[in-house]
């Protein structure tokens, strides 16, 4: 046999993901808090935030096993956390939050995810649903023309590599300097739209090549752009602080990331770390990591920052085009200020209190949103006495939520909360059950316009394929890792 002697590959019967799942001890700490006690190689316990209903689906996949694997990584502090929308990912679970010591700890591309700085931007407006009622379709059609979406749809500009490197270095600042939006947008963006440690020089040619045609594009999959209206306000004071005044107010939500450039950065560093450190002893190859202080660890962090900046520039450009469309169709982009822009796939160096001492930690949020409470210096001055806005997008055609960060979250989850609904059903299953056109018709009956480049994509993203986002935010609110502020519902949906 030509290959048989090379490696002892396990036989396919051992790859099965369900039959051999180990029974994991799970302690109920309260109605919404579950703990995997420290055992075996775990350096810290793992904590899962979920209601009984959310826990049911979590137990069906590898979420718990992955949370436990993360708890075994060097330098992990306090806990390996899973947010209420958690589900199985690669290496780290989606909804996973883990913080590592800056000396002993690690940084892992798998703890950030392939779509670096996948995130959400929310714009408010002075329009009411009545104002746009008859223009909804036109707004959507025009947005569709302005914002490139879908698979393989190129961006607007043919960029040179040197301009792209400038974008990677300066993020949304570059976009604003080039006429996309205003400096106020930067104030209302996590990191002011630019991670300062970005080093564009580390980015591979392959990643640059993938980034050039895709700048300013929405992409496909679960990414979307919605015109929404405020459906409910839970906390009028916080809502007012965030620019949310009344029911029926029109908002715009943009959900997308760093496109092929970010995916390539993740793949590149997984490979570089494998080649440098080998894969021996890893329970899952996607857990590959580097000491955060090592040259390669730093290099990944600086490259990740560059991909983060690409995504900030991307959302900045898309938001600008949306305002252009409103100006054209409605006669003005009245009051279309940015509420906030959050990252939900990222690693950051942040100060957190461990054993009574404030220390710098490398916090990984993979499918988790930062949820800093009042007083944190990282959040915009306008919100500093309130807590940051947390934007949690629902699945296509369902509600999304605005929460406020809390001080309690710092102790409960290193200042993090959920990031969305979390998938429940495979795309194949969704395709078998739903048809895109049928979903469009059903949404239309509910008064929601939908346009997409792919009906197949629409079927895959059917809301029934997702967990109940209402339940996810309710659990976040009950535990105190995010405070409910407002619920928004779509009136027009653009899906890539």
């Amino acid at each position: 046999m030509k290959w048989g002697s090379i490696r002892a590959h396990p036989s396919p019967s051992r790859w099965s993901s369900t039959s051999e799942r180990m029974l994991m001890e799970l302690l109920k700490k309260s109605d919404f808090i579950w703990e995997i006690p420290k055992q075996g190689d775990m350096r810290v316990p793992a904590t899962l935030y979920a209601s009984a209903r959310l826990l049911e689906s979590v137990r069906k996949d590898k979420t718990l096993e992955q949370a436990r694997n993360v708890a075994c990584l060097p330098g992990i502090q306090r806990m390996s956390y899973v947010m209420p929308d958690g589900h199985q990912g690669y290496g780290f679970p989606i909804g996973g939050v883990a913080a590592f010591d800056m000396e002993e700890g690690i940084i892992s591309p798998g703890g950030v995810g392939y779509d670096i700085n996948c995130g959400v931007r929310l714009l408010r407006s002075d329009f009411t649903e009545q104002d746009i009622d008859r223009k909804r379709k036109e707004l959507l059609t025009e947005i569709f023309k302005e914002v490139p979406a879908g698979v393989g749809k190129g961006g607007i500009t043919k960029l040179s590599k040197s301009v792209l490197k400038d974008i990677l270095t300066r993020g949304a600042e570059w976009a604003v300097d080039n006429g996309y939006g205003t400096p106020d947008d930067l104030l209302m963006t996590e990191e002011n739209g630019r991670m300062k440690n970005a080093a564009a020089g580390h980015i591979s040619d392959r990643a640059l090549e993938r980034g050039i045609p895709q700048l300013g594009t929405l992409g496909a999959g679960n990414h979307f752009l919605e015109i929404q209206k405020v459906a409910e306000i839970y906390d009028p004071e916080l809502a007012r602080a965030f620019g949310i005044a009344a029911r029926g107010q029109v908002m715009v939500m943009i959900h997308c990331g760093s496109r092929g450039l970010g995916h390539q950065v993740a793949s590149d560093y997984i490979e570089l770390m494998e080649n440098t450190f080998g894969t021996k002893g890893l329970p899952d190859r996607e857990l590959i990591n580097a000491p955060v202080r090592s040259p390669l660890g730093r290099q990944y962090y600086e490259s990740m920052c560059a991909a983060v900046n690409y995504a900030f520039a991307n959302r900045q450009m898309i938001a600008h085009w949306v305002r252009d469309v409103f100006a054209k169709v409605m006669g003005s982009a009245r009051g279309m200020r940015q509420v906030y822009d959050v990252c939900h796939n990222v690693a950051k160096i942040e100060k957190h209190v461990i054993d009574g001492k404030a220390r710098d930690l490398c916090v990984h949020r993979k499918g988790a949103t930062r949820s800093f409470g009042p007083g944190r210096g990282e959040i915009p001055e306008a919100y500093r006495s309130k807590g940051q806005p947390v934007i949690i997008p629902g699945s296509m055609g369902t509600a999304s939520y605005v929460l406020a960060g809390t001080a309690a979250a710092e102790e409960l989850s290193f200042g993090s909360t959920a990031h969305g609904a979390g998938r429940l059903m495979s795309r194949h299953e969704a395709l078998r059950r739903f048809r895109g056109e049928q979903i469009r018709d059903e949404l239309r009956k509910k008064g929601i316009e939908l346009q997409s480049t792919s009906w197949k994509g629409v079927a895959e993203e059917a809301s029934a394929a997702y967990k109940d986002v209402d339940e996810v935010v309710r659990v976040s609110h009950e535990i105190g890792i995010g405070r409910l502020v407002a619920r928004v519902v779509p009136v027009a949906v653009m899906k890539g």
Binding site: R14, D115, V151, E209, G221, S426
Partner: protein, 144 residues
């Protein structure tokens, strides 16, 4: 278990796409895995085979070779607008420090002529398996 075609089969996976590809040889299974990835984005049977794209890839082990090879389909699509419809002349050789794969993608670089219905973000090591058989079975999860 569903969507069976001759050389590959998709399995249930909550968030992403998981498949097994088969072959009498490792080369055949790798080629079928490439078709599985392409079939998540377009229908390979619909794409005209009027252009070649040569592939020459190294990997420190078979898994890395597979990840890099399948990643090439995404890369040539995003950067050259090349839709792979098939793989010819695929060879895998052992060499110092790992493996080398050479092949030719056949396809077209006019995506506007076809329906491109899906996006594959990345090829992962998650739940990856390579049973060198024979027959050969490969399992891959891709991020979509």
């Amino acid at each position: 278990m569903e969507k069976t075609t001759d050389g590959f089969r998709f399995l249930e996976h909550t968030a992403d796409a998981k498949f097994q590809a088969y072959g009498r040889t490792l080369e055949e299974a790798f080629a079928n895995a490439a078709l599985a990835v392409a079939s998540l984005m377009w229908d390979p049977a619909e794409i005209e085979r009027n252009l070649d794209h040569p592939v020459d890839i190294r990997g420190r082990d078979l898994e890395q070779l597979l990840v890099r090879f399948l990643g090439e389909i995404i890369y040539v699509f995003e950067t050259r607008r090349f839709l792979a419809a098939g793989v010819d002349d695929l060879t895998i050789d052992r060499e110092d420090g790992g493996f080398r794969l050479r092949a030719v993608f056949r396809g077209d670089d006019k995506p506007e002529k076809y329906v491109v219905f899906g996006e594959v973000k990345a090829v992962t090591y998650n739940e990856m398996g390579i049973d060198t058989g024979p027959p050969v079975t490969i399992q891959v999860v891709v991020d979509i």
